[in-house]
Symmetry: C2
């Protein structure tokens, strides 16, 4: 079995290079699901390669050879989460799209399971530089996916032309993540609404214009 | 020596109950300094009671009896950091005061030593509920200390009467902490300036009015 799951290269394969239904893809899915479950249940510091292998029904040697360490598991999980993430909204107004974005962030962070996963990967990023880079990549991908929302709002004249899309999207997310990671305050509907209104007011005022 | 440093109660003493120059206060100072140094150097998960005792020049029994666990050390350090924090600015304008606040946050998080301490206590908050509560208390104290800045700005007519001071202050901090903990982007002078301008634009627009 170890032989069958061996990869041709020593680097973790990026998902695009694999046939989705192939054995390698199935092993990756099982291992990343087990990693996500373990992070949700016990956090980053309890992540154990042997238990992940057992949970995924995959040989230990495969997990060590392909992911190397708990850090390797977390960075590949973040890559997979970026690939699997939902497409950006298109509600017809910038306020509607930004509200959809903020609600998606809120729903994810307040979901018992996914909230625990995000808390664990953010803690991993605080403890390990490779995890920090993978976390930064994850958010760079997410922000880039939503950037067209802001461009469309600009084209409709809802905000000044030349508004930096990513800067506006960061302003929507920041109050939610600040409460989630730092002040540990509840992410209520009012928090979502204020995050959107505040970001839009600043955008209309020209605060996020490209320099 | 263990006898001399024993406290009359089993709970960690709050600093206000101790003579500042007394032996108990000196032991606390040495232990919290050693805790801060250890967090800056190796993070929360490497925090070791025996090494803290050795680093502080204090008997192990004292450290175990008084702080109980690494979590006890972190929560007492956060209490001490709240007590030691600098007073709020009073520059004569709300924009000036908020800029001073944002620069203080930026200077703290980008300082090699203090940035590492904050990263460690935020990671501790992600891993332990007692640390999370202590972290929330720390920010509650800090935000309350700066609230008069917003009240003065309201009295001078710089923002609408009825603006929630803490909501506005959170809006200034959020973009800085979001980059520090989540997206790991650099805290430049431009980031500080945009955080202040965006929060002020939203406040003037009435986004932070009390419901």
């Amino acid at each position: 079995m170890e032989q069958e799951t061996r990869l041709p290269e020593s680097q973790p394969a990026s998902p695009g290079t694999l046939r989705p239904g192939g054995r390698t893809a199935k092993v990756r899915r099982a291992v990343l699901d087990a990693t996500r479950d373990a992070l949700a249940e016990s956090g980053f510091h309890a992540l154990n390669m042997d238990r992940i292998a057992a949970g995924a029904g995959v040989g230990k040697t495969t997990v060590y050879r392909r992911w190397g360490s708990p850090v390797g598991l977390v960075t590949d999980l973040l890559r997979d989460m970026a690939d699997q993430s939902l497409p950006a909204a298109d509600t017809g107004s910038l306020a509607g799209d930004l509200r959809a974005n903020a609600e998606l962030v809120r729903d994810t962070l307040t979901d018992a399971r996914m909230g625990a996963v995000f808390r664990a990967v953010i803690a991993a990023g605080a403890c390990d530089e490779e995890c920090a880079r993978a976390l930064a990549d994850f958010y760079r991908t997410r922000l880039a996916e939503w950037a067209p929302v802001v461009a469309r709002g600009g084209a409709r004249g809802e905000i000044p032309a030349g508004t930096d899309p990513v800067e506006l999207l960061r302003a929507v997310s920041a109050p939610l993540y600040y409460r989630f990671t730092v002040t540990r305050e509840e992410l209520t509907a009012a928090v979502v609404e204020r995050a959107v209104s505040a970001a839009l007011a600043a955008a209309r005022d020209g605060v996020f214009l490209r320099p």
